[in-house]
């Protein structure tokens, strides 16, 4: 092993480990958050109306939700424990502050989510229909709360507040919990992440329903699901984009380097234009670019001619403040992840807008081109979520806690062989699980739900699993 690893540092391996674990975990989590809310909506409609179509839609999407949920849960354990494993110096430095939301997340959110989901899965016929509906709402609330605490922890890394540095131990020490939980960065980031999660769930609901509608399966159930999907896609897309835009302005004041790198803007510019795409390299001399005047200034400062700071100037400032070293993140990665994220967000907005327009003309179910488009758009939020996190985490480099702790000083003092072993091991497990999960999802998503017989509807099944 050590011969193979010659020259690869613990730091590099630990960063890959974090990236692989986080991106994999967050493929499933937004769908869990989004679908739990949507299934709760479907089931509430079924409970209120007693309509079998709503009930079938609930069971159909509930099943897909559970298959997805399981992977989100188990990869979350690695997510929580890898801080101590790979980033022990980070853990010691931030534990006073970062640990608190993590612990509270477990107590307030994970218990709620897991317990009431257990009631929901096994409770049909054992608890009253009203309590059964309530249990999915509480599970959904649990997922929404859980996102709040973990995003608060992340927001603190992006923009530390409510702390002081202990002069003896050199640890960051919390002085104001309220400040940590009302961090301006947290408020926007949480809204953005939450809407993106609803968007993921809604695009999934709409896309799967569209696939069945095009084939004429159980049109009563899938038309209802598709309509809920269209409405939530539109609302969530508007929310995600609006908050994302506000984050852009906040970024220009809190992390200007991230914004500069997102545009590959080397020199401070007023009335800065935005490039839609670049051919050639991003070192400042592109072969071909499509540029829209003034847009970068609008994105970053909300004014037509606003000044956007450039990489060279920011690097000079940073060396003055923090000492020698590079403070420039990987530019090409930021440039492209930003464009992919924004582009997919706009495409999803279009999906919602066209869907609403068709719905109002009562042509949603009879538009094969829209239904095909909707089915393909299932993928869009997953890609956007992943590149969004890569953008915000890579864009913070070289810092792990912005301005306070560099990533290179955060890693555990352990042999690269250990990290390599677990990196290879987890990647192998994740890959196998992803293949099984996707195959199982596709298999289950293709088969519409059969109506329950009166006997099944009355009694609790003896064996659920």
């Amino acid at each position: 092993m050590s011969a193979l690893l010659a020259g690869i540092s613990t730091l590099t391996l630990a960063r890959w480990q974090f990236a692989v674990t986080t991106v994999f975990h967050f493929l499933f989590v937004p769908l869990t958050i989004g679908l739990s809310l949507l299934v709760a909506i479907l089931q509430t409609a079924a409970y209120r109306t007693g309509d079998g179509a709503w009930e079938r839609a609930t069971r159909f999407f509930g099943k897909l939700f559970l298959v997805n949920f399981a992977i989100g849960v188990v990869t979350g354990i690695v997510q929580e424990f890898q801080f101590g494993m790979d980033w022990s110096r980070y853990s010691v430095f931030v534990g006073n502050i970062f640990g608190a939301p993590l612990a509270i997340e477990g107590l307030l959110a994970f218990f709620m989510e897991s317990t009431f989901l257990g009631v929901w899965i096994f409770g049909r016929g054992r608890v009253s229909p009203r309590v059964h509906v309530l249990s999915i709402w509480l599970a959904s609330l649990g997922t929404i709360l859980s996102a709040a605490f973990i995003v608060a922890a992340n927001a603190w890394m992006q923009h530390p507040v409510g702390y002081t540095i202990d002069p003896h131990t050199h640890q960051a020490v919390m002085t104001n919990f309220w400040a940590v939980m009302t961090n301006s960065t947290f408020v926007l980031e949480y809204g953005h992440v939450l809407f993106a999660a609803f968007l993921t769930g809604a695009a999934f609901l709409l896309g799967v329903a569209a696939w069945h509608l095009r084939r004429g399966h159980d049109t009563a159930a899938f038309a209802k699901a598709a309509r809920v999907g269209v409405v939530v896609v539109l609302i969530a897309a508007v929310g995600t984009i609006f908050l994302g835009d506000s984050q852009g302005k906040q970024m220009e004041t809190q992390q200007p380097m991230k914004m500069a790198a997102a545009e590959a803007l080397y020199d401070t510019t007023s009335a800065a234009s935005f490039s839609l795409l670049t051919i050639g390299n991003l070192s400042g001399n592109p072969i071909f670019q499509v540029r829209v005047p003034h847009i970068l200034s609008v994105l970053a400062t909300n004014t037509w001619d606003g000044k956007v700071e450039g990489i060279h100037q920011l690097q000079a400032q940073a060396t003055k403040t923090y000492g020698a070293g590079s403070y420039v993140p990987v530019i090409w990665l930021l440039y492209w992840t930003f464009r992919i994220m924004v582009g997919l967000g706009i495409l999803l907005l279009a999906l919602g807008a066209i869907g609403i327009w068709l719905m109002r003309r009562r042509r949603l179910e009879q538009s094969p081109r829209f239904l095909r488009f909707a089915a393909w758009m299932i993928l869009a939020p997953f890609i956007a979520n992943s590149v969004g996190w890569i953008f915000t985490e890579v864009g913070r480099q070289p810092w792990v806690v912005y301005g306070l702790l560099k990533t290179s000083n955060a890693v555990s003092v352990i042999s690269p062989g250990y990290v390599a072993t677990s990196l290879i091991g987890f990647t192998a497990i994740y890959t196998v699980l992803a293949i099984i999960e996707i195959a199982l999802m596709i298999r289950l998503a293709r088969v519409p739900e059969a109506p329950l017989s009166p006997a099944e509807a009355e009694s609790a099944p003896e064996l659920v699993y």
Binding site: V78, E80, G84, N96, A100, T115, V173, L463
Partner: protein, 349 residues
């Protein structure tokens, strides 16, 4: 680091105790989950039996596992240096535990999604190994906490993976594996219908003496080792004696079909065993095998009082709700799980 000699403040003692309670809750609850997983191949003869076994923990296993997440999170927040030292030091062992918990959790949810013998056999194996490995490794880890790991000043780790697998730690691992399995057997005795109930009973009776020997030897060794004698709460050794006594009774209780009491007894042994270890550990959180002065103490690893106060309020307000609704789910699912065909069989014949 600089305050090794100071004794823990009230807040620090409280948080050591609370984290202890979280671990105890975890081992009490997921202890029987692990046991049920280990017993899966041994108390069943067909797929329906295996479904009965899995359904007996179906509604609760995920909530039980959250105790681990909260214990981990609370350790991170209240004792960052403990969290950082243990998790990076036990790296490979923890990797195995996490990998096991991943495949185990997925197995519960995926297994029943396809009616295919090979598919289900593969997930059955995942459930067995995913339960057995953590049941063994948690015992190894807690034994290591008490008996010492190669750390020097500030929790810096100097050893390798093999420093973790010493005879005492291995005995600890075998003791917890065996105890959790027995705990799972008494749980199935309470929660399952025949034939699983009867099979678990027979297996529990055979397992009880083995567990008795392993746990008694482990507790005895813990006592004979130097640390134990110094600590309040361990002299006289009331808890371990009660634990061993309860364990001696388990086999008899199972034989007398006093299923409720048998479960209470194994639960008590789990709690008493880990309480003994935690008391032995106090006022440290990790013992150094290099030199006593390198022991990682509660004081040296604790967060500042402000963080501990905030967390205390949160815990005080929300823990009662959590206990109430988790307890409620056990009440909702209090009915035994049985084969769907068990009622029809006599009428057909």
């Amino acid at each position: 680091m600089f305050a090794v000699t100071a004794s823990p403040s009230g807040l620090e003692q409280l948080w050591f105790a609370l984290i202890g309670v979280l671990w105890l809750g975890y081992f009490f609850l997921e202890g029987f989950d692990f046991g049920v997983g280990v017993l899966l191949p041994f108390v069943t003869r067909d797929d329906v039996d295996r479904r009965v076994v899995i359904n007996s923990i179906g509604p609760v296993w995920d909530g039980n596992e959250v105790w681990l997440l909260v214990a981990g999170g609370a350790t991170f927040a209240a004792f960052p240096l403990w969290y950082a030292t243990v998790f990076s030091g036990f790296y490979l062992a923890l990797f195995v535990v996490l990998a096991a918990l991943i495949v185990r959790g997925i197995a519960f949810e995926f297994r029943h999604r396809r009616d295919d013998a090979r598919w289900r056999r593969a997930w059955d194996r995942a459930i067995f190994w995913g339960s057995a490995l953590p049941a063994l490794l948690w015992g190894v880890a807690f034994a290591d906490f008490v008996h010492g790991v190669p750390i020097v000043a500030g929790g810096a780790w100097t050893g390798t993976f093999f420093d973790l697998v010493k005879p005492y730690a291995l005995l600890g691992g075998l003791a917890t594996l065996s105890l959790f399995t027995l705990h799972g057997a008494t749980y199935l005795g309470l929660k399952a219908e025949d034939p699983v109930r009867e099979n678990a009973r027979a297996l529990g009776q055979r397992l009880a003496p083995v567990t008795f020997v392993l746990v008694t030897a482990f507790l005895g060794w813990t006592y004979l080792s130097a640390h134990a004698w110094h600590h309040v709460g361990l002299v006289p050794p009331l808890l371990p004696i009660l634990a061993v006594g309860a364990l001696a009774a388990v086999g008899w209780l199972i034989g007398e079909r006093m299923e409720g009491w048998a479960f209470v007894a194994t639960a008590f042994v789990v709690l008493a065993l880990f309480t003994t270890l935690l008391l032995d550990l106090y006022p440290n959180v990790l013992v150094s095998s290099v030199r006593t002065s390198y022991d990682l103490s509660i004081v040296a690893s604790a967060s500042h009082p402000y963080t501990l106060k905030v967390m205390s309020w949160v815990a005080l307000i929300f823990t009662p709700f959590v206990l109430a609704y988790q307890g409620w789910t056990y009440w909702v699912f209090k009915k035994r799980v049985g084969r769907p065909d068990r009622v029809e069989q006599p009428t057909e014949a």
